[in-house]
Amino acid sequence: MTHDPPPHEVFDDAWVAAWVVELKGSDAYRRAAATWEGSLALAMDASPEDGLAEDRAVFLDLWHGDVRAARVAEGDDLDTADFVLRADAAVWKRVLDGDLQPIFGIMSGKLKLARGSVAKLTPYMAASNELVAAATRVPGRFPAAPV
């Protein structure tokens, strides 16, 4: 028996759109993020040997349990987001597989908090976990290494 590969690559437009659908349908996220006002970007470092020629990132504008905007990061998104989490594809795969909790990733240095402070992010940790939980339900391919 064979499985078709997931239709979207992680962090591309279609994957982000599917993630937003999951978030908007998640009561757990809505409750956990009830006080979250701000923006979050997730950035994946380029790794040509793993098939990712350029950095890739997504930007989320979060507001009281809702998602006001979500897109592949553009312009100065990464310079203005309240929080930017950055890692390579292998670490993001662990996160999106539900194998690495965001706070442990940050504290252990696997996930770099490139913008924002841990102290300010910590109150939103339950919401962050629900963000990730929703993302784990979105099928997504990671870039394939060139043959």
Binding site: I103, F104, I106, S108, G109, S117, V118, A119, T122
Partner: protein, 308 residues
């Protein structure tokens, strides 16, 4: 007549002085010998009287968090010692006797400070924040208490994560950094600075033992234990950072120029060094863990804290 027990010290094996816990035991006997009753708090009492009310409040808050924390770890450690005894890990149990003795001295030192410097502080439980209560009233006693009926490697790892990595490795170290920031930078309270210097020395050994224990469990039992460590950390780290945040939330403008980010950044750097050592144990043998931890242990302070 039947023999039901074998005493290790009556066999050719004797004591294994190469094990990291035995090396920590030797250090504990040399540099862990200090008496809380010998600390001179007279200048501290004078300094206390000269502080602004908000400055007194932050020092008393910090002292209270340590006071209850030290009492809690003293009360909660015994089940781990009992597990080591039941597993016949004599060297580890020997070291842990000094561990518990040192925690008891820490309780005494902080209470002396409260009694002789602060005077009557009223009911100190007012300083316990929600995250602090969750850790010290629930998570710590539950994780250590579980060992009475479940001494599995995962249970031991979860207890050690809670005690060594979170309570000692994040909360206590952040607290020392706060005392240092307040007292050293402002040249205040030489008695408490001396206490903190002793505590840092003692706790460096405690955390070295915790890293050793977790590394040993990972090397012996593999990824089930590592996954339990990661999950436990993921659950407790928000609470630990929550304690720091809630402490700062009490002040519109924290006295002494303290900033929350400085403390969280410090806690992260300490935590990262230790967890990376534990993670390396996933690909190490027990002998390799013993060798690496012995090398690290050799770098831990070899002399008693200098006089202040």
């Amino acid at each position: 007549m039947t023999t039901t027990r074998e005493f290790k010290t009556l066999t050719h094996r004797g004591l294994d002085h190469r094990l990291p816990p035995m090396r920590l035991w030797q250090k504990a006997k040399k540099i862990g010998i200090w008496n809380p009753q010998d600390i001179d708090f007279r200048q501290d009492a004078e300094d206390w009287k000269g502080l602004e009310p908000l400055e007194q409040d932050v020092i008393l808050r910090l002292t209270t968090l340590f006071q209850a924390g030290e009492e809690s770890v003293t009360l909660d450690l015994l089940p781990l010692i009992m597990v080591m005894a039941e597993e016949g890990r004599l060297e580890e149990e020997m070291y842990l006797t000094s561990f518990l003795w040192e925690e008891a001295k820490h309780v005494e030192a902080f209470r002396r400070f409260v009694d002789e410097v602060v005077g009557d502080p009223g009911d100190l439980t007012r300083f316990e924040s929600p995250s602090y209560q969750q850790i010290f009233h629930h998570e710590l006693p539950a994780a250590l208490g579980r060992l009475r009926g479940d001494s599995s490697p995962v249970a031991q790892a979860e207890a050690s994560v809670t005690y060594n990595m979170i309570v000692e490795g994040v909360l206590a170290e952040t607290g020392y950094h706060a005392y240092h920031s307040i007292l050293e930078r402002h040249d205040l309270m030489p008695g408490m600075r001396r206490v903190v210097a002793h505590l840092k020395s003692d706790e460096a050994r405690h955390m070295a033992y915790g890293v050793y224990l977790l590394s040993r469990l990972v090397a012996e039992h593999g990824d089930d234990v590592w996954k339990a460590i990661e999950d436990r950390m993921g659950n407790l780290l928000p609470l630990a950072i929550g304690v720091v945040n809630e402490t700062f939330d009490a002040y519109d403008v924290p006295p002494f120029g303290l900033t929350v980010d400085e403390f969280v950044t410090f806690a992260m750097s300490q935590f990262q060094r230790r967890i990376q050592r534990v993670e390396k144990a996933r690909s190490q043998t027990l002998d390799e863990v013993n060798r690496v931890e012995t090398e690290v242990e050799a770098k831990i302070q070899v002399a008693a804290p200098a006089s202040i």
